[in-house]
């Protein structure tokens, strides 16, 4: 597993961890939170915007005909 820069563990107090209500897990497992936040940031960076932002996302809403 990658070693984490000690400065990065300060991330546990980062607003986005608190906003995600990760106080307990950030306190107990700060390295896991740092690794996860980094992974999410990498995904957000890599995710390209869809060619048509107005396109219906998958799966489309379907009406339930139960009556």
């Amino acid at each position: 597993m990658n070693e984490i820069d000690p400065d990065e563990t300060a991330f546990s107090a980062h607003p986005s961890a608190l906003q995600a209500k990760l106080g307990r897990v950030a306190h107990q497992f700060p390295q896991d939170v740092v690794i996860a936040a980094r992974a999410a940031a990498e995904l957000q960076f890599a995710l390209s915007v869809p060619g048509d932002v107005a396109a219906e996302p998958w799966p489309p809403m379907q009406m339930r005909m139960t009556v």
């Binding site: 597993m1 986005s16 961890a17 995600a20 209500k21 990760l22 307990r24 897990v25 107990q28 497992f29 896991d32 939170v33 690794i35 996860a36 936040a37 992974a39 999410a40 940031a41 995904l43 957000q44 890599a46 995710l47 390209s48 915007v49 869809p50 060619g51 048509d52 932002v53 396109a55 219906e56 996302p57 998958w58 799966p59 379907q62 339930r64």
Partner: protein
């Protein structure tokens, strides 16, 4: 010593019909085999010994009375312990679910019971089908029968190990990013992720609603086909369940591949990521065999593997976080470290990321639809490396994402993994074939044609216990089942 444990489901069914084998005899033989070998493999979390024997007695009576229900009647099967069997715990291999008890059968369990299959036990997995080989959980991780020092793939690790190790002829797995095809490939068996919705997911604990699939694992393509026949079917209680399906998926199994057009997605493992030399050479050999059998094999271009992987991961993390967020906030220490690290990214993704990923998903589905206008089957790498050592956490993290499976969870296309060689270290190599939506018939036909021409499935693992297991450092912990008659 009897070799009954290596019989395929097809052979078992034929032996029952010819009165050369009885279900009770077979179940007893497999229970002995589990007793002798599972202390080294850890493939099962629980074995339903009494219930399996009861079911075997019942099957025996029916078969002797000339009422053989079909090819799965009296055939034992292992169930990944993320799928509900009424009256048994569904632990998901996690501390979080140790006190869980299933009240109803999953849809697939009802289908298996109707087909007369015998539910032999619940198989080990990566925690919640997401973690990895972890040593800080209530149950030890399953090990690879080809070399118990190595990982068996995952997340359906116990199902792969149990089938490859001759502990059971069939097993069910689940697949959200490749979790059937990975252990199938690492353990040298056959694993099918069917078209999304062909097999109802109802009663399997979800990981990612729009990516989850249930599918069969077996030692032969024929066995996978007949298990699929039993499992497929519309379930009005599952919003993702397909309304119409074929009922005989093995109808073309022996038809060969002459005239089929197969697109080899070589860039997945030669440009986008670099497969090991042995994996790459084995895939070239598969292409040669398929050409020799009469298929037209041509190289084909899809979007980059990383494009698929990014979109799949954003969706997976978002959906999995919706399920696990509460537990992770309240009981983080009850998850293995590897699970926490794989589940927490969902906390940092936004709703916009998720919707964009679902929009990108449709664009990628469109890219596959385009290529399927020109070919009948796609051929790709499965894993880009062979199984790493089970205790090498760094190598596990490095190699686990080096795969070409998750694109087809994203698009929903059916995909099958099967053995195509042995590495110099004696570990299985595998190939992945992908079909059009709901065209499992052609997919299984192609897989069977390869299997017939290159019978790697006839190779059995040496089943030598590892030093660690031999020294008793790691003892399999099993739940004891006092209930009978529930299988």
């Amino acid at each position: 010593m009897s070799d009954d444990h290596w019989l395929t489901a097809t052979q078992i069914s034929a032996a029952y019909a010819a009165r050369k084998l009885s279900p009770v005899e077979l179940v007893r033989s497999l229970l002995d085999r589990i007793s002798n070998h599972d202390q080294h493999l850890n493939a099962f979390i629980s074995v339903n010994e009494q219930a399996a024997l009861d079911a075997a007695h019942q099957a025996e009576l029916e078969i002797l009375a000339g009422q053989q229900r079909g090819p799965l009647h009296g055939v034992p099967i292992g169930i990944k312990d993320i799928i509900d069997i009424a009256g048994l715990p569904t632990t998901c291999h996690s501390k979080i679910r140790l006190d869980h008890m299933a009240r109803e059968d999953a849809f697939v369990i009802s289908r298996l019971r109707a087909a007369g299959a015998i539910l032999l036990g619940k198989t080990a997995l990566h925690e919640f089908a997401i973690g990895g080989p972890a040593f800080d959980l209530p149950f030890p991780p399953a090990r690879n029968p080809w070399n118990t020092q190595h990982h068996p793939g995952g997340s359906s690790s116990g199902s792969g190990a149990a089938v490859a190790g001759g502990l059971v002829p069939l097993a069910l797995g689940t697949d959200t990013g490749g979790s059937i095809r990975n252990p199938a490939g690492m353990c040298g068996v056959v694993g099918l992720k069917p078209t999304y919705g062909l097999i109802s997911r109802r009663g399997a604990f979800p990981l990612s609603f729009t990516l989850d699939h249930i599918g069969p694992m077996a030692r032969t393509v024929t066995d996978v086909a007949l298990t699929l026949d039993a499992l497929a079917g519309h379930n009005p209680g599952d919003p993702g369940s397909l309304r119409s399906c074929t009922s005989d998926f093995g109808v073309d199994l022996e038809r060969g591949v002459r005239g089929l057009r197969i697109g080899f997605v070589r860039h997945f493992h030669q440009t986008d990521l670099l497969a090991s030399a042995e994996v790459s050479a084995a895939l070239d050999e598969v292409a040669r065999v398929l050409r020799q059998e009469g298929a037209q094999v041509c190289d084909l271009q899809l979007p980059r593997l990383q494009e698929f992987a990014t979109v799949q991961r954003v969706i997976f993390h978002s959906e999995a976080w919706a399920i696990h967020g509460k537990w992770l906030r309240e009981r983080p220490g009850d998850y293995s470290s590897i699970s926490r690290r794989k589940l927490l990214p969902g906390a940092f993704l936004g709703a916009g990321d998720y919707v964009h990923a679902q929009q990108r998903r449709l664009e990628l589905v469109g890219a596959l639809e385009d290529v399927f206008r020109d070919v009948d089957i796609l051929m790709t790498a499965n894993s880009l490396d062979t199984a790493c050592r089970i205790d090498d956490a760094e190598e596990f993290v490095r190699t686990y994402s080096r795969q070409a499976r998750s694109p087809f969870n994203l698009t929903g296309h059916p995909a099958i993994a099967l053995m195509c060689g042995l590495s110099s270290a004696g570990l299985p190599l595998s190939v992945q074939l992908v079909g059009r939506p709901c065209d499992e018939v052609t997919l299984l036909r192609t897989a069977r044609a390869y299997e017939r021409a290159a019978p790697w499935h006839e190779k059995m693992p040496p089943m030598e216990p590892s030093d660690a297991a031999r020294s008793g450092q790691e003892k399999a912990v099993r739940l004891t089942q006092s209930t009978s008659g529930s299988a």
